[in-house]
């Protein structure tokens, strides 16, 4: 956990072609009810002022050049927070003709163009719950423990041979 992540994170909301449900939840988190500003999270109007990019949507081909521009404009060290199933794994649009299919494909493209991203966080959910966003903020700041881990289970056969 770097020291930089513990400070107030200013975020820029980057919609890359989402259905808007995730975006509504981000606004929800900023209301007094959930109040993300108590963690120092502030929405800013330009990626040049931002520490982190809140990315929603599966990155449509139309949005791709603009997304790359926005990521390039963010000062380093930059955090990319992929929000929602669309953003993390392409969601319901993962194999459609007009999207690249989420942040993992985007990271490959960024690597090709030698644009570095220092931290990437993934928040699944469709749409993400406001509490899930708050949990993610807590995780980034080291307030909560990571709960999820990959599991490999072996199917149990009844008969032998």
């Amino acid at each position: 956990m770097s020291k930089f992540l513990k400070k107030s994170i200013w975020v820029f909301h980057l919609n890359t072609g989402s259905c808007n449900a995730c975006d509504i939840e981000i606004l929800d988190v900023l209301t007094p009810y959930f109040d993300a500003e108590r963690f120092g999270v502030k929405l800013v109007a330009s990626p040049r002022h931002a520490d982190a990019l809140l990315m929603t949507g599966p990155v449509t081909l139309e949005a791709l050049p603009k997304v790359i521009n926005a990521i390039e404009a963010t000062p380093r060290p930059r955090i990319l927070i992929a929000m929602g199933s669309c953003s993390v794994g392409g969601g319901i649009w993962h194999d459609t003709y007009s999207t690249i299919g989420g942040v993992r494909e985007l990271l490959k493209i960024l690597k090709e163009r030698e644009i570095e991203v220092d931290h990437v966080y993934y928040i699944p959910g469709c749409p993400i719950r406001p509490e899930a966003i708050i949990y993610a903020i807590g995780l980034i700041k080291g307030l909560v423990e990571k709960k999820i881990s990959s599991k490999v289970k072996k199917a149990v056969r009844r008969t032998s041979g």
Partner: protein, 173 residues
């Protein structure tokens, strides 16, 4: 508005009290009874039939044939839209839904869950087909299948075709 207006606001704020949730500092019941979260597999019940894979709208579930006699049922939480259609279609009730939404991570490999199945081997051609668990499930449900279930679908088909040939006086092999 003046000073008096400010007092009015204070009164309203006093009546409303604190509305901000204390999460994550204090545990609270956050989700309702019918909230849908992450799904979980019971590896003792799953037979690897792939009904859930068929039903999953975003292909968050996949069946992957590793080619070494194992079949993987892969669940990628990062793509799941938490519709729980897989739970509805599962014939053995191997999938349970949880209310878990705390899934944020900094490593995408955390978001995979895998059930490893052994594939069944055909007694005639030695090829791999279905899974051992599915074979057991079918025999349990319909015992008469035991006489031919250890052959793969292709061998069964060939057997039937040969039988038909013989009845029509066709060419013997």
């Amino acid at each position: 508005m003046g000073k008096l207006g400010f007092i009015k606001i204070l009164v309203i704020a006093g009546e409303a009290g604190r509305v901000t949730r204390r999460y994550p500092f204090k545990p609270e019941t956050l989700v309702s009874e019918d909230f849908r979260g992450r799904i979980e597999f019971d590896e003792t019940k799953c037979i690897g039939c792939g009904a859930c894979v068929n039903a999953c709208p975003p292909n968050a579930l996949e069946l992957v044939d590793k080619g070494d006699g194992t079949l993987l049922l892969k669940y990628f939480i990062g793509r799941c839209i938490f519709c729980w259609r897989c739970i509805d279609v599962c014939p053995t009730g191997a999938i349970t839904g949880t209310r878990d939404f705390e899934l944020a991570t900094n490593d995408v490999s955390d978001l995979y869950e895998v059930v490893v199945h052994e594939r069944a081997e055909c007694s005639e051609c030695g090829g791999k087909y279905s899974t051992i668990r599915q074979k057991e499930y079918v025999v349990e449900a319909v015992p008469i299948t035991e006489s031919y279930i250890d052959k793969c679908p292709d061998c069964r088909k060939n057997k039937l075709l040969r039988a038909l040939e013989r009845r029509r006086g066709g060419v013997y092999e």
